[in-house]
Amino acid sequence: MQKTRRNAIIIVVLIIIFISCEKPLFEEYEPELNIFCLLECVPFHYITVIVDQTYRMDEPSNEYIDDALVILSGPNSVDTLQFIPGDSAYHSPYPLLFQPEKTYQLTVIKEGFDTVIAQTKTPGNFNIVYPQRLDTLTISDTIILTKSSGAPYYHGYFTDENDYKIPFWYVPDTLDTLVRIPIPFYLTFAHSGYYRIEILACDENYYQYSQFKPEQDSVLQAGITGGVGVFASYQTRAVYVYFVLE
């Protein structure tokens, strides 16, 4: 009887050990390239691309990677970008012509990392309907734009005479043919004076980048495959106005 009990206990213990042995779920993390490029869609522009990487928690970080092969492909051109140590970024050796509503591809190759392929489609042209140059604006006014095709998101700055920038963001109503951006309420804390309103019509990748919350979110892949980061494009329009605080 005692032997049976002992055997039963041994069997139960063995069963518990057997079913509770688990294979660890984690796999070793492999670092990836981290790309940062916000492409402004204007003629004759020196594109800037910062190439960096993700770092394991136990490895020290560097500011940038300077020996990657960075290739920009446009509708009619393929250019290899060069690393400029002065600003720790890759640039085109000459100004490039960026056209609206065209797709641009960035390829970043670096030994020991997966190759990054990033794409962005530049937003279409747009105009500022209201205000016009040196119009007077109040907090209750609305900025009106024509719509930029392929731009789900608008971003901009009020820049005062001291070059101080007050940012704003806006996601337009999809049904409206125009974009109507209310003057941000926090401009009530600004002062009366001349301002430069700069408005960026941003592509989907830019919107994704702007929505990313570094303290909450984990992986930013705005237009990027094979790595992390952002490759986005935008068009800019600007107007000078006089803002009156009521």
Binding site: E22, F26, F36, D52, Y55, R56, M57, E59, S61
Partner: protein, 752 residues
């Protein structure tokens, strides 16, 4: 037809019934053994101390009452045809244990009840477990199989893979919505001095309980001494406690309270030293109970609980108060219960209860009222309930009941003197249940089948919860159990139950946008008694969850379920082993839990943060032998705990997120952390040894005792979480344990 046949069979016999109480204080004695000498007829008292023996052939008998720790009582009775003889007995506590075989309440329960995963605690057991600064009921429950604590200081119950909000917690019938809120979640609401017993159903609970998915904790406070005025006082490191009980005409009362006093000591010190030092925090709680017995058949009980944690401070820059901060939270509740024995076979209880948990935060800026902030969150529960038990015969015990509940949940936020949020949820829940405990083959095979229905009046929804339990006594000392049941829960919490540190839960009604969460329990069990004081239970179980509502990441409070919750399914399965043995001067138990808990969102399974695979507790207590001079006849209780690590999301990597800093007016970056899967890594093993040493003494002629508790004697670092210091490159990983040194505490108890 079966009932009628059984009724006919009962004809021409007599019966005996009554209550069994403690002669020293009038407390009921649950699961005392009652039998007729030289016959095989017997019974046991139920949890109300009531017993009945049916189908007795008219004759004269000797009836014997026995209960461990009490002198057996014997008296002659005459049983008459079709007549019930009432014998209410008071049993005297025994000063010397006699060499007779007595059966413990647990053993009697094993013979009488069809239940699985059930454990009863006595105050002695609660007080014998080493505690952090003082004993705590919830901490004691964490030593039971199937119950997991998330860390060394945790005072929440994760039962068989269920989260704390899936536990129904009752105190004298009052629903307690946040049982562990004192000292930021370190202590429970239950003052151990006032507790008579605590019952935990870790799963498969019967039809009389519902509206929770995992478990039931039913705490009953003491009745109050109906014989004489007595009391207990204690001074501990954190709190002082006082409990007074005594008789009133045709009844008894009990009142107990405790309060932290560090704030008072700091205040006194400041007054003496003319200092501005202050500790703006304290907590208190109180439990009161009055029993009134106008006749043996009727008992009225009023029970109440009130407690609060309070943080309050003012900032005075001149002689005038500039700012004031008040934060308080706490449980309150009251219940009125009428128990009536309508006939020897039929008794019932009617209960009315009110329960409230309130969180209130107020910030007042006296120089600029636009900064004022006012937040409150409240749940109010009005319950009306009737429970009836009918001892049809020695084969059938019927139970049924109805329950009507009004729930009100309010949450309010005022900012800059404007009401931003003012929302209220209100509903009426109606419940009815019926249950039969049927002894199919006496002493061998019993079945307990029940059905519980729930109806939500606001959203016009109903649920049907069938429950069944089967107990098969393979041998007199061995039983196999099987239980299955369905459970629903109409209330959910919008705060994460996976948080390491949370003081209280924010409850919401499940609104019409979601299905009502449900679970199914399937439990098989083996219960073996090696002798009257040695018990082994082995229970494998499987629990399936549907339509669980878990918080979305990064959602703020004061939201509705539709805004802040997402749907998950899941399961938990495992094995609980419990071995308990009592000797003459010692006791101990070993509890082991193996548990696999998974939640499923979409098609993805993951382990929640409380998925602890192995959990082992060994508790051993003994009376110190006489040859150890200083501590002779004292008691030493040891607890060793061993557990495998909880899952967590390891920070795998980091990278730069570049952005335009509109404050600094330049481009900058911050580090983004790439987290691993939420359950891919596990914290290291945890283990620690605690002890509780207690020794009787006399102070000013009063009986008392002193005690010393030490947690984590051998100073093992049980890692609770990690942080990363980004000031270093690479970031430095820092491990935190919550008991970084052995934590001693001590105190004095007095009885008068």
């Amino acid at each position: 037809m079966i009932f009628i046949s059984l009724l006919l069979l009962a004809y021409d016999y007599g019966s005996v019934s009554g209550f069994v109480t403690d002669a020293s204080n009038g407390e009921k004695l649950a699961y005392a053994n009652v039998y007729l000498e030289n016959t095989d007829m017997g019974s046991a008292t139920n949890d109300k101390g009531y017993y009945i023996i049916h189908n007795i052939t008219p004759d004269t008998y000797s009836i014997i009452f026995s209960y461990i720790g009490y002198e057996s009582a014997k008296m002659g009775i005459s049983i008459k045809e079709n007549h019930n003889t009432v014998i209410n007995i008071e049993m005297n506590p025994s000063l010397i244990e006699l060499e007779e075989i007595k059966v413990s309440a647990e053993r009697t329960r094993f013979e009488q009840e069809v239940e699985v995963s059930h454990i009863t605690f006595t105050p002695r057991e609660i007080k014998s477990v080493p505690g952090l600064f003082e004993n705590d009921l919830i901490k004691t429950l964490q030593l039971m199989p199937g119950v997991v604590a998330m860390h060394d200081l945790s005072n929440k119950l994760y039962v068989r893979g269920g989260s704390p909000d899936e536990n129904l917690v009752l105190l004298d019938g009052i629903t307690i919505y946040n049982p562990s809120t004192h000292l930021f979640g370190l202590f429970s609401t239950f003052n151990p001095d006032a507790v008579s017993n605590a019952e935990l159903y870790a799963g498969g609970f019967p039809a009389m309980y519902g509206d929770r998915l995992s478990s039931v904790l039913a705490v009953t406070t003491k009745e109050g001494n109906s014989k004489k005025y007595t009391g207990e006082a204690s001074i501990g490191l954190i709190t002082s406690k006082l409990m007074i009980e005594g008789p009133i005409p045709k009844g008894s009362f009990l009142i107990s309270g405790r309060r932290t006093y560090f704030d008072a000591l700091v205040w006194a010190y400041s007054e003496i030293k003319n200092d501005t030092l202050s500790l703006p925090y304290y907590f208190y709680d109180g439990i009161a109970k009055i029993n009134f017995n106008p006749s043996p058949e009727n008992r009225f009980t009023i029970a109440g609980i009130a407690g609060s944690d309070i943080i309050s401070f003012e900032e005075s820059f001149t002689n005038e108060t500039e700012e004031k901060v008040d934060l308080k939270w706490g449980n309150r509740g009251i219940s009125l219960r009428w128990r009536r024995v309508f006939s020897p076979q039929f008794y019932g209880e009617i209960l009315g209860a009110w329960s409230n948990f309130l969180t209130h935060f107020q910030y007042e800026d006296f120089s600029d009222s636009t900064n004022n902030l006012h937040i409150y969150e409240e749940i109010i529960d009005y319950t009306g309930k009737c429970d009836f038990n009918y001892f049809l015969n020695d084969r059938h015990t019927l139970a049924c009941g109805i329950d009507a509940k009004q729930l009100e949940i309010g949450y309010n936020l005022d900012v800059v003197e404007q009401n931003i949020i003012d929302q209220e949820q209100k509903t009426h829940l109606f419940t009815a249940y019926v249950q039969d405990k049927w002894s199919l083959i006496p002493n061998i095979l019993s079945v307990q089948a029940g059905l519980r229905t729930l109806y939500d009046n606001t959203y016009k929804r109903s649920c049907l919860n069938p429950r069944i339990g089967i107990k098969y006594h393979v041998k007199p000392n061995t039983a196999l159990n099987l239980a299955w049941g369905k459970y629903n829960q109409f209330l959910v919490t919008i705060n994460s139950q996976e948080s390491y540190f949370s003081i209280f839960d924010f409850w919401r009604l499940v609104d019409s946008t979601h299905n009502i969460p449900s679970s199914y329990h399937l439990i098989a069990g083996l219960e073996q008694w090696f002798d009257n004081n040695t018990r082994l239970t082995i229970e494998p179980y499987y629990k399936k969850y549907y339509d669980l509502l878990v918080p979305k990441e990064n959602e703020m409070f004061f939201s509705t379920p539709s805004e802040s919750l997402k749907v998950a399914n899941g399961y938990s399965t495992g094995l609980d082993i419990f071995f308990k043995k009592s000797f003459e001067n010692s006791f101990g138990w070993i509890s082991y839990s193996l548990c696999f808990t998974k939640r499923k969102e979409g098609e993805h399974y993951y382990s929640p943060r409380y998925d602890r695979r192995h959990n082992l507790n060994i508790v051993f207590g003994f009376t110190i032998p006489e040859y150890i001079p200083l501590f002779k006849n004292g008691t030493l209780n040891l607890r060793w705990y061993f557990a495998t690590g909880l899952p967590y999301a390891e920070d795998l990597a980091r990278y730069r997120y570049r952005y335009y800093d509109s404050i600094e007016q330049n481009w900058d970056y911050e580090w983004v952390v790439i987290h691993g899967p939420r359950d891919a890594h596990r914290l290291p093993l945890s283990h620690r040894l605690d002890f509780h040493l207690e020794k009787d003494m006399r102070i000013f002629g009063l009986k008392g005792s002193w005690y010393i508790d030490v947690m984590n004697i051998y100073n093992h670092d049980n890692i609770a979480f990690y942080t990363l210091d980004y000031d270093e490159d690479p970031p430095k990983k820092i491990a935190y344990s919550l008991l970084p040194i052995p934590i001693p505490s001590f105190g004095i108890n007095l009885r008068f």
